[in-house]
């Protein structure tokens, strides 16, 4: 089982066996949406959040 560290909360995040680069996964502890930047070595980053425009 491959794991990586959540960049948000430092939890161990399990990387699915069939994961692909640029895939989005979630941290089970803090719920952060994470992007798999690379698989070898495994590297995660916070996924870009949708920017909302409230008309301001």
């Amino acid at each position: 089982m491959t794991t990586a560290t959540c960049p948000e909360c430092d939890a161990d995040v399990v990387i699915p066996a069939d994961a692909m680069e640029n895939e989005l996964i979630s941290c089970a502890e803090c719920g952060a949406e994470l992007e798999i930047i690379s698989l070898n070595p495994v590297e995660l980053d916070l996924a870009p959040e949708v920017e909302e425009d409230w008309g301001e």
Partner: protein, 341 residues
């Protein structure tokens, strides 16, 4: 199976104890007392238990020996008759404030009277398993916990133990069931409904339990406000830290404290509707949820916690204590989530 009696079973805490114990795998509740309800089926007072048990309340004078007694009496009552109950059962868990403090002087200061049985105080273990687990194992006497105190002790304990906390100002919001089942002018529906009523801005008695568990070295202040809620305690603490930390370090600290705790959950989610602890989510359970967010400054941490005042704040903790005292699985009878929505 062990035989259990509940003394003072017509109150909310007594009812919650009965609800939990009726489904405990190692317990048979054989008697439940109430002066005012003696002779009545318990479901006439606790309607959620209709069809679950045919128990009837008995008068306290009719109480027979049993293995464990839970005392769910008004504060100041159990301590006056503790010798009587100790003669009836080898194991006692008292949910009132009578035996929470181990120092008679602290009791006098916070409760305004001399303790009637000071020789009993050091026989009771304070019933907060997350902090007194080792003392509870095999103990014969345990006290219950104050619900507000429990929210503070669990929410701030890791910070105090690590020496991170410089001072904390806490607002605690509570539901109406904290006031018990005896009505008064303040609980009258036209007065209580919709209330946002701060009733203890300073000097709440539960501070005594906080000082006993966390020490009195770090200034911790808390106010209690009653809101439109039946069950629940919601704590929000502004914690000023002794030095700057990243939020990741807070995660690490709280994980180290609570990852092995069966009834403390860390709730600080980046997604979803419920990103921080909420009392509604833990209603009816023995869970205490704890979350936090670090201010940009790095030395101002907001900690949020939620528990059920009748659950983790009273009956749930008491059952967890019994499990430890009798070497049962610590989670027996308590391993269930709340309802949602």
């Amino acid at each position: 199976m062990i035989t259990v009696g509940i003394v003072g079973g017509s109150g909310y805490t007594g009812g919650e104890l009965l609800r939990l114990l009726l489904f405990h795998p190692h317990v048979e509740v054989t008697q439940i007392t109430s002066r005012s309800e003696a002779g009545h089926f318990v479901h006439t007072v606790h309607p959620n238990l209709r069809g679950v048990t045919q128990l009837q309340f008995i008068h306290p004078d009719a109480l027979q020996p049993c293995d464990v007694l839970f005392l769910a009496l008004p504060h100041g009552t159990a301590s006056k008759v503790i010798d009587h109950y100790a003669a009836l059962a080898p194991t006692i868990i008292d949910l009132s404030a009578d035996f929470r403090l181990n120092d008679p002087e602290a009791y006098r200061r916070w409760y305004g009277e001399t303790h009637p049985a000071p020789e009993w105080l050091d026989r009771f273990v304070y019933g907060l398993p997350e902090r007194t687990r080792d003392q509870l194992r095999g103990a014969h006497y345990a006290s219950g916990v104050g619900c507000n105190a429990t929210s503070i002790n669990l929410a701030l304990g890791p910070l105090v133990q690590a020496g991170w906390l410089d001072q904390a100002a806490i607002e605690i919001k509570v539901g109406s069931s904290e006031g018990g089942n005896q009505p008064n002018a303040g609980s009258h529906h036209p007065v209580r409904s919709g209330a946002v009523r701060t009733y203890s801005p300073t000097g709440h008695r539960h501070m005594a339990e906080v000082e006993m568990m966390l020490g009195a070295d770090v200034p911790i202040h808390f106010a209690v406000t009653a809101i439109e809620m039946v069950r629940g305690v919601h704590l929000l603490a502004h914690c000023m830290l002794t030095e700057r930390h990243e939020e990741k370090e807070v995660w690490k600290l709280y994980r180290a404290a609570y990852n092995e705790e069966p009834f403390v959950r860390l709730v600080r989610s980046k997604t979803g509707l419920h990103r921080f602890p909420e009392p509604r989510i833990v209603a009816g359970t023995n869970y205490c949820d704890i979350g936090f967010e670090m201010d940009e400054s790095g030395d101002h941490l907001v900690v949020i916690a939620a528990l059920d005042n009748l659950g983790k704040g009273a009956a749930g903790s008491a059952v967890q204590c019994m499990n430890l005292m009798l070497n049962f699985d610590e989670c027996a009878g308590l391993r269930f989530p709340g309802i949602y929505p």
